[in-house]
Symmetry: C3
């Protein structure tokens, strides 16, 4: 099995450049170091050579910095002393932000290739900007609107009336219905947007009666929705994902959820119906929120947390049921202490009766 | 970004009506109030006007009732006194059930548009009722049978031999194989039904050997399967979803699972292979059942619960490992008390050594 | 609703045979019992008749063995005494492994039907082996390579440059990009492979800036990826799934994850970015690993566990936060004891103030 020597395998990625150190430093929004150097690409510290620019952000990998053969390295001022003599240090308080910009200099997002693939099925009254790209076998519904420079992937389905602003990307096999989408929105492959929410009334004899789902989905500007995630449309209100919010893969957003700006929802997290998140809420992987909650601005919810009550702004909660992070770890510590205390007596019993029964992992 | 003034944006929904108050009350299966009123649509309490009918079910939103400008409101007898004078009260013991019926009066499910889209790929020996609708780029396998008034969405794939009863809906990009489906079944976009279950035998040298998966999937009448959920076919027995059961989005159903009638499985829950659920089991979001369990009738399983043992009928369990709800919250309370008790001593230590280390949310 | 009398409904499965007992025993790699018998198919113990071979692996179902009407039964030596006189015992230390082989004798995986469906959209410079099968409406990108006997399902999308070895299967609606795939790899319907990982840098003003994702996905030989699972491509390194590893449905693999050989990842589990799993790690359903961890060889991670720290080889961990299985159940036991102890006092209080408030399941 072949492995890549460094990032950006030419089989899959188109690289620009080379670029001078001066251009790279400028893109990184830092002072240009007083050296002339041509940089041909990017690579991780461990495999970079003299023609590459690399970076250090997570200090867990600081040892790799001292050993790197990279020509240039983007680092925080605290780490400059560990940059080897063979490398130019590109110094910034925000090395990861600078890295995002430099990597995008070498590997910009490919532009739309204007035009509708002949295999696509496009309604006669859909309005598609001539600069947009419609991929093979895409289906565009009646009265749908697709703005400039949008890229619609293979097999993507845009239902009747769906609106996309400019510069959106819709991945392969994604489906959108009952949705109004802003600019620069990125919908990954396999995403489901706008289907009916999970709404029904149960009659006294146990029959579940569907509640018509009459709201929409609003994806504001710069939203990203990760692969195979699902965002249900509202029942009476709209489901709204605020500008700049990012959802990872396999995330579930229930009907009528209203999410503020700049939220981050990590993989496999789920938000039940009618819950409201203010701006910049962070939600860890596999965490869950029950319905009809209010989660304040800048709340941080730990991975696998189960939130069953409102959370005030600025709080960090973990656990299931969720509680403030400090209380949670205090409880963990208390319980471990108690269990250790109970061990010596138990160990004697086990000698006679055998140990605890383990559980299966699956 | 535009927002909808009220539910049922004409861009996406076709509304019938207007309807008289008498008709609305009749559909709601209540006594008609002695007033003449034309109702043009439905809306949430907060934005409804005199031409709308609205409803109150969740008492959390009771304040909105007192302030509503709706022309008519569906309410429980207990709430009649809070309906403002400007609104007609449509009174019923089952306001949410009545709402389901009234909303469907104004916004019925669109009927199938009979015919096969010319871009669909249909096997010559498939049997498709002439009243069924086959969407663009759908693929219908050999000997598949599709009953009257079914609606098959864009890109849906029905494998060889799959049978659908009448009035089923299959969403965009859903795939079904090895499946026998009843009437009025609703399969959402991106659903995977009938693929091989996760079955293998591990040889002594660690090689995983596939077990042929030789069962089917049976979806009984009125089943709903939410977006991007997966239902594996049985290995030797069938996987069965009982009549009227509803699965939310991103749910996993393992091979040989047998689910009774009227069960409700909330988003991201998972049921491992060969587990049996009796009728009307409720399973909260992100809950999990290990394999080969028996879960009795009307059991309620809390969100994020992890069930590793059989559950007797009528029980409510929560936690991981799951236990009766009352015991669970008693343990939560005991632990919080203990942790608080340990705090004062600890606080003194922290002054010298620093606080607990927090964890990251992702 | 019809039910199958036994496994392998002819509507969906093609059966070979009949086979003699001698052939069946040979395929099972056991001594042939001294009997002549023709076997026509396979069936579970409960419904098998004299013409079927069946098996017992999970002793939970041992009662069914005593009552079976099967003609032959594959069993462990310990269970031979419980095989009824009417059945021939096919005895092996590895009954489940033998079953895998015997079931595959009767129901082999259907071979590829060589050729490209006329509705597929294939780039002129894609290299497709003439023995490969390309299904209806599949899309094959520029410079993609597809090896001998691969089966590409309906609507599958292989992006530019993707490489598949020999004998791979790609299910309906799966999408692969930026991926190098070995031999005999099985990608289930709806799988997402190679899309951008969840990588962004947050500027001081809260704006999330995308980090270009410049790595690939490497699926080594004999890997399986379950329905609707997602495997993101690396950011700078590759994401690697080691030979023979099996992922169940709805699993999430973050960017730069490196998984060893023969790992088993059960449904709805998630692995965050840059975490490393050595060989033969087992991960239970709905378990989660945070990023940048190292998980040693043969580690077992329980269902719903939340792992936030490195795990040494050979360990079994459960709980959230995860800990060794023995400590976990000791804590469970201690807490239950304490809660019971606090009950009698509390019960008296409840008589005056009412019981605990329960939580909703959804």
């Amino acid at each position: 099995m072949e492995r890549s020597a460094f990032a950006g395998d030419a089989r899959f990625f188109h690289r620009t450049g080379p670029h001078t150190l001066a251009v790279v430093a400028k893109v990184a929004q830092t002072e240009a170091p007083p050296r002339h150097l041509m940089l041909h690409g990017v690579a991780p510290l461990q495999v970079a050579t003299a023609e590459h620019v690399s970076f250090l952000d997570n200090r867990k990998y600081a040892d790799a910095l001292a050993d790197t053969k990279a020509g240039a390295v983007i680092v925080h001022p605290d780490m400059v002393s560990r940059v080897p003599a063979s490398a130019v240090a590109i110094v910034t308080d925000q090395p990861y932000v600078a890295w995002a910009r430099v990597a995008a200099l070498f590997f910009p997002v490919p532009p739309a290739v204007a035009g509708v693939h002949p295999s696509a099925v496009v309604a006669a009254d859909a309005e598609i900007d001539p600069t947009a790209e419609i991929g093979p076998l895409a289906v565009i519904g009646s009265r749908a609107q697709i703005g400039p420079r949008c890229r619609i992937g293979s097999h993507a389905v845009l239902g009747d009336g769906v609106v996309l602003g400019s510069d959106c990307r819709v991945g392969a096999h994604a489906s959108l219905s009952h949705a109004i989408v802003g600019d620069r929105v990125n919908v990954y492959p396999g995403v489901r947007i706008g289907q009916e929410g999970f709404g029904f009334a149960t009659t006294p004899n146990g029959h579940h009666l569907t509640i018509p789902q009459l709201g929409r989905v609003i994806l504001e500007d710069d939203v990203e929705v990760g692969a195979n995630s699902t965002v249900d449309r509202g029942s009476l209100h709209d489901t709204v994902i605020g500008a700049g919010s990012r959802l990872d893969n396999l995330v579930q957003i229930g009907h009528n959820v209203r999410m503020g700006r700049g939220c981050v929802i990590v993989s496999q997290a789920g938000i039940s119906g009618s819950t409201i998140l203010e701006d910049q809420v962070m939600m860890g992987g596999q965490a869950g929120l029950t319905g009809h909650l209010h989660v304040g601005r800048r709340v941080r919810i730990g991975a696998q947390a189960g939130v069953m009550a409102d959370v005030p702004a600025g709080t960090e909660v973990v656990g299931s049921p969720a509680q403030p992070v400090r209380s949670f770890f205090r409880e963990v510590a208390v319980l471990r202490r108690l269990a250790r205390g109970s061990t010596s007596a138990k160990r004697n019993r086990d000698k006679e009766t055998g140990p605890d029964t383990d559980t299966s992992t699956s």
